[in-house]
Assembly symmetry: C2
Homo-oligomer: 267 residues x 2
């Protein structure tokens, strides 16, 4: 692998486009290979074993595309499978959790974490926050499975979203968290409705932005800048889902033209 | 295959347990093999091509278990892949759509159909209703993707469900359908909230019940009764999802004890 090779990103589906969006902002002269496992999406309701099996296949595919590093955009994969991925592969691999924890101020103590069932139940965010902040950290965690479908239907800032947010998060709100970690690639689409619900005193942390900053820093500290890049993106999916066009525009904030469908079971 | 072999059922996940429940009521002396593709669930947002590829693997697995017939519990697979399945395999294969249409009275004309995006967009229900009732049939169709997650979280008879039903179905209600087809295995869990919303003048049609009646009839007309059966069920899943215990009880109305996890990609 060379510095002019693309950066690989994988996600369970289209949600990782919010991570790609942030990477494009910070690293406009890199090229990218995006793989979304749309045939088997979501990962967030599935077991650690299955998520890890799928993640291995996802990385195998990206390596077949000669990427210089891998970004695990998916919080469910980052929280359940990152250590197995790092143990198996030599290529640099970045998950979304570590840079998110690194971005937290030492001053805060009351932290909310929302994500898929797989992310919340893995305890990864919780464990790393405790390592950083010790026992003074008060954590309020909640899996919010309906958020993914709401986001994909363009309902993340709607009356239904408000009702669902109240259902999942009224107990958390009563604890007055200072910070809320949006621990799923789909959740940045809820920034408006969550900020409205919690009020301006709660700061929302977007792991997509934090991992992009981490990758940016790593590339510059290690002289891995692409000298010939120009923001080219190659999109690969394991299925071309029915709603891909409308959903992808919301997530990436631009149109996606060329998609190659691959058989991920072969990797 | 012999008459004493089990009946095979497959579904994208746990939803097909509503079909198994109906089969157990009508055919208590048959044995069953249930496969739920929980590693790749849902099918309802995915393309016809991917649903058919998965369905082939699902039937291959069931045939490896020497089933005497196959019930496609999943509406998304029944509506997108049944003809390909029937063309490929010699074993009798039953989908949920044909018996549902057969159950409709000739007298009705205003019919609502709800299901996944894959089911609604396939047009299978719509086409078969038009074949039966001709142009006098007025069809109102709506994909309701949030219903699956609501059902799996035990929220199918809740304030959130009422809000989501209003969002999806207010236009349909304004057309005063006489009959509403619950075109997804998860939707029988919404019978209370849908009946409350539409009122008692709307009759709800449950394809799970209709396919069970069809299989019952076929077995008795063809002398395929199991002489040694006693309602044994063998459960196979491609993943053991985090919420399986609580969800399966709601769907099957009994506990599931022994589950075997299989690697469906091998089939």
């Amino acid at each position: 692998m060379g510095t002019n090779d693309p950066i690989g990103i994988f996600d369970s589906g289209v949600g990782g486009l919010t991570v790609l969006h942030q990477l494009l902002q910070l690293l406009p002269e890199e090229n990218f290979v995006y793989f979304g496992d749309t045939a088997r999406v979501p990962y967030g309701s599935k077991s650690r074993q299955t998520i890890t099996h799928f993640s291995f296949q996802d990385v195998n595919f990206l390596l077949s595309q000669e990427v210089k590093m891998v970004v695990v955009a998916c919080n469910s994969a980052s929280s359940n499978s990152l250590s197995e991925l790092k143990a198996k592969y030599e290529v640099p691999i970045f998950g979304v959790i570590e840079p998110t924890i690194a971005s937290l101020s030492e001053e805060i103590s009351k932290i909310g974490i929302i994500g898929t069932s797989a992310t919340i139940e893995s305890g990864s965010y919780q464990k790393m926050i405790k390592q950083k902040l010790g026992n003074k950290a008060l954590l309020y965690e909640k899996a919010c499975p309906l958020f993914v479908q709401l986001a994909e239907e363009g309902l993340s800032d709607s009356h239904i979203a408000d009702t669902v947010i109240e259902h999942y998060l009224s107990k958390m709100k009563a604890n007055s968290p200072q910070t809320l970690i949006l621990g799923c690639t789909h959740y940045p689409l809820f920034i408006n409705s969550l900020q409205r619900y919690f009020g301006d005193s709660v700061s929302l942390v977007n792991p997509a932005l934090e991992v992009a900053r981490e990758v940016h820093k790593y590339i510059h500290e290690n002289g891995l800048e692409n000298k010939n890049g120009r923001g080219d993106i190659r999109f690969y999916l394991s299925d071309v889902p029915r709603n891909f066009g409308s959903v992808s525009v919301n997530f990436l904030q631009r149109e996606i033209e060329d998609i190659t469908k691959i058989d991920i079971e072969r990797y």
